[in-house]
């Protein structure tokens, strides 16, 4: 079976050991987590893990089954890129003198729709939100001029289809 990118969305209770449990499921199958984000979700008190993996659908399905089996997990889904709207964020720290010495830098900022977050005498910080390849392109464009620091966040995703967690919780309560 062919490997591709899958985004796994996990709705769970906010439990201290759960990240360890979930990461262990990937670890024991040698599946690398390409990106991980944990945040609150649309439901109060419910956390959402967004995990990106590059593997086969069969493995993804089995992993989702194992994740869903964990006591604190309410529901887990997996989706392909086509089925989701997804973004990542990045921050670039660049020496301030470059902004004046290298005219091209201002063009890069404009072309890539990046934001200047802060500027001081030593450095300025740029924020860029977009898909992985868009961030990579901006990174590559800035690289020849020197990047002091670079960081990229995990992917965050909303799906085109509904994820009816409230209904599932309701059903759990009734049973």
């Amino acid at each position: 079976m062919e490997k591709q990118w899958y985004t796994i969305s996990v709705y769970s209770e906010n439990h201290v050991g759960l990240l360890n449990r979930i990461s262990g499921i990937f670890l024991k199958r040698h599946i690398n987590i390409e990106s991980l984000n944990v945040s609150k979700s649309e439901i109060e008190g419910v956390s959402k893990f967004t995990i990106v993996v590059f593997t086969t659908e069969d493995w993804t399905r089995k992993i989702v089954g194992q994740i869903e089996k964990q006591i604190e997990v309410i529901k887990a889904y997996y989706h392909t890129d086509d089925e989701t709207i997804y973004q990542e964020s990045a921050l670039f720290k660049i020496a301030s003198h470059l902004l004046f010495d290298e005219r091209q830098i201002q063009n890069i900022i404009k072309e890539h729709n990046a934001q200047i977050v802060t500027v001081n005498r030593e450095f300025f910080a740029l924020a860029k939100t977009g898909r992985r390849h868009e961030i990579d392109e901006m990174h590559d464009a800035l690289l020849p001029y020197g990047i002091m620091q670079f960081v990229r966040s995990g992917r965050i995703t909303v799906t085109k289809a509904a994820m009816p967690i409230s209904e599932i919780l309701q059903e759990f309560q009734e049973n």
Binding site: G17, N20, R21, G24, K62, G65, V73, I74, F172
Partner: protein
Amino acid sequence: METLKAQKKDSKSQKAIRITGAEAIIHCLLAEGVDLIYGYPGGAIMPVYDELYKFQDKLTHILTRHEQGATHAAQGYARVTGRVGVAMATSGPGATNLVTGIADAQIDSTPMVCITGQVTRSLLGSDAFQETDIVGISTPVTKWNYQITKVEEIPEIMAKAFYIAKSGRPGPVLVDITKNAQFDELDFVYEKCTAVRSYKPVPKPKSSSIEKAAELINSAKKPFIVFGQGVILGEAEAELKALVEKAGIPAAWTILGLSAMDTDHPLNVGMVGMHGNYGPNMLTNECDVLIAIGMRFDDRVTGDLNTYAKQAKIIHFEIDPAEVNKNVKVDVAVLGNAKETLGQILPMLDKKEHKEWRAEFDKMYQIEYDTLINKDIYPTKEGLTMGEVIEQINVASDQKAVIVSDVGQHQMIACRYAKFKQSKSNITSGGLGTMGFGLPAAIGAKMGAMDREVVAIIGDGGYQMTIQELGVIFQHNVPVKIVVLNNDHLGMVRQWQELFFDRRYASTVMTNPDFVKIAEGYHIKSRRVTERGDLQEAVEEMMASKDPYFLEVKVEKEDNVFPMIPSGASVSDIRLK
């Protein structure tokens, strides 16, 4: 914790009592109906042991000689009773010594609650004396675990622990309790847990899949059932029997499914898997509908998946959705508790006999009997066989004993030849294959079923891994019958070395001590048999004993267990010799 709250029943009627966390733990255990626990004290769990001392009229604590023994004893107890087994240990090495038993309980779906002491909260993460991250260590091998650092958490977490361990597909739960939480006081009220918001232990059966399954079974010409421990855990033995009899379907068991159906039932065709019976393995690849009930298509059952039952439509009755399509792609999955789903499908099934199909199993059995079973259990060669010992036990116990086995050749022989008339009677380490399981598990099994005979069948290798538990048998006069089948080798590994490693017997030859003398050292009645002529009488003497009894049988050193599906081969490549 706010989001984790278990649903609670109306608690207005209960009055809170002001007690320490340590005493609260005892009250939680009593409220869960626990009257027997296994464990080993130490610094970080001492406050709880102090309470155990005060409550010894209500709660019996058995001091095993090693924490691993406590887990296996708790497992043996759980497997024979269907109740939650409880093991307790201190922090650090006490806790880490539990890990093998926890992993065993996880893979064999055994309900168990392990309680460990932990260093006081302020010392956590400081590499304190006997501090170990047992929650981190046990995470991959527990169904759930939790570290209590505040006394107020005790009742709720303990209630959740028992609920999670027992409900749905059972498993081990570990609760780690820091010492400060044991010393501190709380206003104690206990409410049993009946639900956890994010946890759905038993999926609701879908009538559409039950109908589909019934259609497939009714139209099958060569249906074949493989049942596992799910039948025992779901207490679906009567439903299974009714289904098998009505639809006339030959049924085989996985090693953990053994005893869910009488071994002498005419439709019980034997064991599947690596050392299972010839017919069930061969005919797996000839049936047209394979009905898997409460089993998980373990690799020791399926052999090579690419050649496993490819011709058949497969129906999977299963409680755990993660097991469906995990190893074998199925045509119909019937999720739910086996008792419920089998009960629902039963009225939809046509009455059938499948005489010709059943005759194929009989034919295969005859081949297996003539080639090896006969020689295994009624040998004429000089050396004693493991099979004849098991057969003697069948006869002397009238097939009523609980048989606890360890891991290796003797285990396969015991599971092949032991006969059962009652469920929950075969206790063995199936999934993890834990050598050393047998002796402590037999102690737990006996204490869980004092009215039954419990016979532990153990090899000379595994016996020495937990031999120290003879101390428990002696101290508490636990009347288990211990049979060591001694071939002076690690027999199963030696067999593989013979067959697949050109007889290079690397570290499988054992120079053994005098096992009879060791048993005598513990004041346990004991006997050694080296001649066939003495076997029957020795087994009878053992079974008649009211006290614990140790029997060593010197068996042929280099016997092999057959049939055998070589590792990674197809079930139909099963070898009879």
